[in-house]
Structures are given as structure tokens and as C-alpha cells.
Amino acid sequence: MAGVKLDAVRQQALSVSLATGAYGISLGALAIAAGLDVWQTMALSLIVFSGGSQFAFIGVIGAGGAPLAAVGTSFFLGIRNGFYGVSLAPLLRPMLGLRRAWAAQLTIDESTAVALAQPEGDRAARLAGFWWTGTGVFVAWNLLVLVGALLGQRIGDPTAWGLDAAAAAAFLGLVWPRLSSRLAQGVAAGAAVMALALTPVTPAGVPILAAALVAVIAGWRAPRIPPPTPTLHEVPS
């Protein structure tokens, strides 16, 4: 019976990996349109390995923002991964050295969601969920980012293909599953207004970072809501 259950976990890991990998194509093409070369795109994808942070990085660079602003935005978007690590640590301990460093790299929305979706007492299923999803997404995502980057090199003017609109839609798609609470909807609206208000008067990249302040203020003052949990309906890595 345990074998059947593990097969189900691996199947789930595989389908999540393929779904996530598929939009690696859009990340790759958009990175080239933003002005990165194929090597920079692949370095970003392999080392950052967190879809939201990667889209943010190329979004700021593509808008003409300073490299430092791109680093800052991608860092702030990656903070949630740190909290996933906290949730996963009891499951993965004891683990040391390189194995732990690699587990950290695979700590993203998808691997955390599949691991924690398994029954709490079933350690083997949870571990399989984490490692199979993390590894599967890593392989599929990076391969398809490469495909997207190579395609992106061949298509000439990115706006003729609507790639600038694709980037906007990507951000909307990334934020959509996170808007289930009233508080999140309010913060999204406030952040959007703040960013648009600052766009004409500050350098590119600054409006995005300033919008994070809306979240800090709201998060500090708001009444109790549950802590961040990754969701599985088409979330970013």
C-alpha cells in the first residue's frame, strides 16, 4: 500500500513539474526581451530558482531600472521561501552540509506545497513530495527557460509579439492565487496605486520597492490571519 501512495505522490510531483516548467518558456523569452543574454538568463534561472523573483528581476531591468533595484525586488519576493524552509525544516532534519544546501535551493512554492499536502504523519510521502517536486521543477523549469531564451533570440521586436503584455499578464497570474483574503486584495490595490503614483517622479524600479511598504504597514497593523501557505493552482516557483 505504501508503494501505491508513493506512486501517487510522484505522479503529483511530475504533473506539477511539467505545468511549472511550461511557463519557464515565457520567462526565458521575456528575459531576452528585457536585455539579458542567454547565459545571464540561465545563470539567473539556475541560481535564483524562484519564478516570482526571476520575473521581478527581468521586469525591473526591462523597464530600465538599476541592477540594484532588480536585486532588491527579487530578494523581497524571495523572502517567503525562507518561511517555507522554516515549515520544512522539521521534516528534513537531520540533514547536513551539501544535502542541506541543495534542499534549500529546492525550497520553492511547488515543492513546499506538495510536501505539506501529504498527511502529517506520513513522513515518507512528505519527503517524496518535497524531493520529487523540487527536483522535477528544477529540471523542467531550467530546460524550458533555455528553450524560451533561444526562441526569444530569434523573434526580433518583442513588442510586435506582445511580449511586454505577456510580462504584465505573468505578474497578474502570479499574484492572482494569493488574493483570496480581503487583506491581500486591499494590499494589492494599495501597492498598485502607490507604484503608479510614484512612476512619473522616481527612477524605474523604485515604485515597485516602495509598494512593498504598503505590505509592511498592513502586515504590522492588521488583525490575525493565518501564516503564508503556498497554494497549488498554477503558482510560481
Binding site: A19, Y23, I25, S26, G35, L36, I47, S50, S53, A56, F57, G59, A63, P67, L68, A70, V71, S74, F75, F76, L77, G78, I79, R80, G82, G85, V86, A89, P90, R100, A101, Q105, T107, A160, W161, G162, D164, A165, A166, A168, A169, A170, F171, L174, A184, V187, A188, A191, M194, A195, L196, T199, P200, V201, P207, I208, A211, A218, G219, P227
Partner: protein, 107 residues
């Protein structure tokens, strides 16, 4: 340094920071992060940044606010998301909308 060299520095820095953030989560004692305010703020920062990126990417060129084919594209994307379309479909529909409008000389 050239702007390309700075871009490389930024790519590496973003990567190191991303990994370090994940790693710290695995090694930090749980009681330090167990505060609901901290966890809630981390969640909301993600929402705020993504929302800001979406509107800036839709309504700006450099530091100018503009209305062009991207507005129609983002509306199509929102509709697709409301109908629970997969992420890749949402992105492709938005690109196709903007590309079609521009091919017709609009936006």
C-alpha cells in the same frame, strides 16, 4: 564597469541572496519566525510586489504613464484567470491580444 558587467553582478547577487534566504529558513530556530506579524508581512510583501509589477508593466514606458494595447491584454488575462485558465494560457492570450491590436495599428 560596463552595463553588461553590472548586469552579471546583479544576476549573481540576486542568486546568492535568493539561496541564502532559503537556507536561513532551514537553519533558523523556529521560535524566531513564529511571530504572526512577521509571517503575515512576508506573505503580503509578495502580494504587494507582484501587484505593483503588474500595473507598472501594464501602464508605463520608462517613467511615463501610458494607455496602449497592454491594457486590453491585461483585461483579457484577468478574464482568463477568472475562468481558471492555466498560467501559460493566460500569458499567451495576453501576448496574442497585444500583438493583434498592434498588427492592426492600435496601441
Amino acid at each position: 564597469m560596463s552595463s553588461d558587467a553590472w548586469l552579471w553582478v546583479a544576476v549573481i547577487a540576486a542568486g546568492v541572496l535568493a539561496w541564502a534566504t532559503k537556507f536561513v529558513g532551514h537553519v533558523v530556530p523556529q521560535r524566531l519566525t513564529d511571530h504572526p506579524r512577521i509571517q503575515r508581512t512576508a506573505l503580503l510583501v509578495t502580494v504587494a510586489l507582484l501587484a505593483a509589477l503588474a500595473v507598472v508593466q501594464t501602464f508605463s514606458v520608462g517613467t511615463a504613464l501610458v494607455l496602449d494595447a497592454r491594457v486590453a491584454a491585461i483585461a483579457v488575462a484577468a478574464l482568463a484567470l477568472a475562468l481558471r485558465a492555466p498560467f501559460i494560457v493566460v500569458v499567451v492570450l495576453a501576448a496574442a491580444t497585444a500583438a493583434a491590436l498592434r498588427a492592426m495599428g492600435i496601441g
